[in-house]
Structure formats: structure tokens, C-alpha cells
Symmetry: C2
Subunit: 324 residues, 2 copies
């Protein structure tokens, strides 16, 4: 029970790992670039090195490590630990679990990055002690995870929690998934960026975003959005009004359908903004859910920030290695 575990957050550009004790204390961390272009085998070598670095920095003995947990991108099979498809890594059917076990000797457990983030919030963050939690992470896309009766719920095709692809406006904006009107196609940072570009570049609307991005509206970071809102930028406020409305509609649908005890909102866009944004989302969710259905449902901000994935991966390692 007092053994340590490793939590790994594997992203497209960097790998983060941490040694974490049973109380969720981070005893040592390490970071290495992913270098996905060098191929899966090299990336897995780098993960193993990153894990070893974190152990070295923490000063704990290797034999105190019980297991490794990893949050990885893309559809994957949490049972076999095979990453089925991760376009931003160029991976197809990579047996991440077994490859990493061979390299490190530690039992390894793999799950989807947003699932792991939701688990982190459940075990160590905003959702502690709450049995049924839905995590919604708004960033480049919109991802999510579902905790039911205290455990990650994967569903029949292991794809549960694709909150970004709840359809909120049939016939609405085209989504990356091929259909139209998904929540992600309206309320993600990518969708917002499209709306800003259209308003500024095509319609010639004025906005501080032009200055704040030095005219490069290709990728607008969450911090820049936060600044534009603090400066009361009309265009940014208008786009955010739409975003809160649609997040409220998505949350309303979830509240009406699953009625979880808690919805945890995280991700770059949510973190960058102040409490007013969250209040607006709560108000929108109330408007779009049935009377009384929201009574027992808390809508709260994520607490762990960038650490949600490593802490969730650690929780995953602990939960699953104790079951075995």
C-alpha cells in the first residue's frame, strides 16, 4: 500500500513522468521530448528513460515502484495496452504496455489521456469522494472521461467519454470527425480560432487579437484568449458567449441523460479563464437541463492543472496493479 507508482503523461511533443506516493505526493519528475518522428520504438525507449530519470530524481529505491501508469493519445485498448491509432504520433497498433514492460521490468497500465485526466481529478483533485464524475477538457479539441461507481467507464468499444462528439446542432459546423454540429466543432479552441479568423480576416472586424498574436491568427493560445477577455475585446467576448452557450447545451444533455453527481471542467481554455466563465457555463447548463435535474449535480473546475494526467496515470497504475 505504501509503495510508489510512476505516472506518465505522453503527449505529441513531450513526455512527462513522475514518481508518486500513495497520498498523491509527487516525489520526483522528469521531462523529455517525444520525438515522434523517430518512430514508436525510439519513443518507447525515451519513455523508459524518462521513467528512470524520475526515479533517480525522486531518490526512491527502484524496488519501491509498484507499477507504471500511462495516459496516451488516441483510441487504445486499456486491457491489452495497445495504442490502436494515434495520428499525432504516427502510431498504429503499437503494443505500448508490453514494450514498456520489457524495457523497464515494471507492470504497466495504459489508458486514454483524457480518461486518465478524469481519473486524476477523481482520485486526487476536484472529484475526490464523488462516485459518478464526468470530466470535460476543453483545449485544441474537447475530450472527456466518465467515472462510474468510482472507476473509469470504457464502454463497449472502449471509446466512452467522447464528449466532444455529442451532436448539439444538427447541420451545424463541419467537425473533424466527418459529421456536423459536434460540440467540438463549435466550442473547442480550434473552432474558436476558425471563428476569429473568419471575423478578422474575412469580415475585417477589429479585435485586440490581431495585436496580441502579432497578426498570426493560425493558432491562438488560451493565454491570449484570457488576455483579450480581460481587455473586454468585443469579438472575443462574442465568441466566448457562443462557446459558453454550447458548452451549457452539451452539459445540459449530459445532465438530462446521465445525471452524474459532478462535472469537472478542465483543459487549457477553462484554466486560462476566470470564474465568470465558469459561472456563465453553469447558467447555460441550468437553462438547457430539465427543471431539478441539475439540483444534485456539481459543475466545478479541475484542480490539478497540468498534473491531472500524471496523477491520474499514477492512480491508474495503483488501481489496476492492486486488482491483479
Amino acid at each position: 500500500m505504501s509503495a510508489n507508482v510512476i505516472g506518465v503523461d505522453m503527449g505529441g511533443t513531450k513526455i512527462l513522468s513522475a514518481v508518486i506516493d500513495a497520498e498523491g505526493n509527487i516525489l520526483g519528475t522528469a521531462k523529455v521530448p517525444t520525438k515522434a518522428d523517430k518512430g514508436a520504438s525510439e519513443v518507447i525507449d525515451r519513455i523508459a528513460r524518462c521513467v528512470q530519470k524520475a526515479i533517480d530524481k525522486s531518490g526512491v529505491a527502484s524496488d519501491s515502484i509498484q507499477a507504471i501508469g500511462i495516459g496516451a493519445p488516441g483510441p487504445l485498448d486499456p486491457a491489452t495496452g495497445v495504442v490502436i491509432f494515434a495520428p499525432n504520433l504516427g502510431w498504429r497498433d503499437v503494443p505500448l504496455k508490453t514494450e514498456l514492460e520489457t524495457r523497464t521490468g515494471f507492470p504497466t497500465f495504459v489508458d486514454n489521456d483524457v480518461n486518465v485526466g478524469t481519473l486524476g481529478e477523481h482520485v486526487f483533485g476536484a472529484g475526490q469522494g464523488v462516485q459518478n464524475v464526468v470530466g470535460i477538457f476543453v483545449g485544441t479539441g474537447i475530450g472527456g472521461g466518465i467515472i462510474l461507481q468510482g472507476e473509469l467507464f470504457h464502454g463497449a468499444s472502449k471509446t466512452a467519454g467522447e464528449i466532444g462528439h455529442i451532436i448539439v446542432k444538427a447541420g451545424g459546423p463541419r467537425c473533424g470527425c466527418g459529421t456536423r454540429g459536434c460540440l467540438e466543432a463549435i466550442a473547442s479552441r480550434t473552432a474558436m480560432t476558425k471563428q476569429f479568423r473568419k471575423a478578422i480576416l474575412k469580415k475585417g472586424q477589429k479585435s485586440v487579437l490581431s495585436e496580441l498574436t502579432n497578426g498570426d491568427l493560425g493558432v491562438i493560445r488560451s493565454g491570449v484568449l484570457a488576455k483579450a477577455i480581460r481587455l473586454n475585446d468585443k469579438l472575443t467576448l462574442k465568441v466566448f458567449k457562443k462557446v459558453t452557450k454550447y458548452l451549457g447545451i452539451g452539459i445540459g444533455s449530459i445532465v438530462n441523460f446521465l445525471n452524474p453527481e459532478m462535472i469537472v471542467l478542465g483543459g487549457g481554455v477553462v484554466e486560462a479563464l476566470d470564474d465568470t466563465f465558469l459561472d456563465d457555463i453553469r447558467a447555460a447548463a441550468k437553462k438547457y437541463s430539465l427543471p431539478n435535474t441539475l439540483d444534485g449535480v456539481q459543475i466545478v473546475p479541475a484542480k490539478l492543472g497540468d498534473n491531472s494526467a500524471i496523477l491520474g496515470a499514477a492512480a491508474l497504475a495503483r488501481q489496476r496493479s492492486e486488482v491483479v
Copy 2:
């Protein structure tokens, strides 16, 4: 284990009750009018009488009855058995469970009618042996229930399963709940009737529905819709095309979000139509769900028809009295 239970289906116009054995065999049934206008106390007397009639008809001994289960309308508290609000009965805060226990002497368990219908399909119908099932019942409205790990899931406010109020088209048709674009506002029989009336009465479109309803387009029954489809009525086919599309969108959202192993489709509208309708819904669901997410999900018709509620109520009685 071999004891019998009573399943009661309490509707706005009639009360059905049945004695049901452990294998789901119906040993005797009874039916009495609800007469809601006479007040809650009289209605509960009538339920008690209906229960006694079913016992008499079944020929089993009263002391073989383990418990009563009831599917009741309206938001209710399944723990206390209090019906919070049932507009079609004129009920507010009626302690159905305790009142019926006083009258009959049998332990009584109450749940929402569509929840009970979903449980019936899970225990005795289409969803046997499937752990995670979503039931969708399309009739006057659209209701639903969620079975997770083999048990009814109620959610934080006891309102889980309000599938009719998933928002599929923001800004769409006004829904009875006050918002716009709910699935129920587009794909229920009530919504279809509105579309037929508008097309025929306001736009003067021709349709066999005018004859089949003798010009009374106020309430169009499912059987009439089925007939109009068999007759290849252009307007009916057009409205149904829209309905299947939107049911597909709602199911797509559920598949993307919760990814259950099975979706059971029942209710008057679904039962009245042939397999082509179900195939169309399946095709629409495939279009509106992410690639591969539908792979593990079966979309099947309900099997129990009008008996889903009494059988589900019996299953409820058995499950909950065995836990106690």
C-alpha cells in the same frame, strides 16, 4: 427464490398488474381504470384491488408473494417511493410505496415507468445478459432508462435517462420542457403529429393520413402511421425520414458519450413499424457516431411490447426485496 412477485404498470388511464414467477412467466393479470380524477387515495385503493384481482386470477397463495414492484409516471424518488410530480395524474408528493404497503401488506418498490420498462427488457427481453443497456421508448414523448452493470442507474437527482431531452438541434423546435431542439421535440409522435398538421392543414399537402384519421389530425396513433407507410404515403415517409435521422443523431451522441453495449428501441412508434425503420435508424446512428464506436454496440428492438413495464416492475420487486 421461487417466490412470486407482483408487477404493476400504472398509467394515466389504466392500471395493469400481474403475478410473475422467477422465470418471468405471467401467472395471472388484471386491469382496472385509473380514474385519476378521483384523487390519489382512490387511485391507490384501485391499485391494491388490481393487485388482489391478479393474485386471485393466478390461483397462487397470497403468502407466495414476495413483493410488489410498480412503474409509475413522473419524477419520483425510487428510495422513498414518493411520486414527486405526475401531471397526468394530478399528483404531487404522493407516498405511493408506503400507502400501498399499508393497503396490501406486501413490501413495495417504485420506479419510473420507462426505467422499469428498460429493466424489463434487461431481465426478460432483448437485453438479457447484457450489462450496460440504454432503453429508448418513442411514443407520445421520448423516454428512456439506463442499466449499468446490470442495475438501473438513477443519477444524482434520480432523473437519469431523460433521453428525450438530449439537445440535438440547438435553436430547433420548441420542446414541452421549455428549451429548444430536444430529441423529443423532433422525433416523438407528438412532434410528428405537429409536422403532419402543419403540412396538411396549413400547407394543403395531400396525404392518406387525412382519410385514415377521418380528418381528425389531433392525435395520430402509431398504427395509423404504420398503415400510411405501408401505403407509401409521401408526407409520412418524409416525416419519418427526418425522425430516423434525428433518432440516429441522438443515438450517435449516446454511443459517442456512454458507449453502451446495447440500445433497445421500444414504444408505440417503434413497435408499429417494420424492420426497415430500425435499419434506417441503425444506418443513421452509424453516420452520426465516431468511426468504430458503434462496433461493440447492438441496436435492437424491444421484445416485450406492452408487457415490458409489468415484467420490469416484477424484476424491480425481486431485485430490491432480495437486497433488503
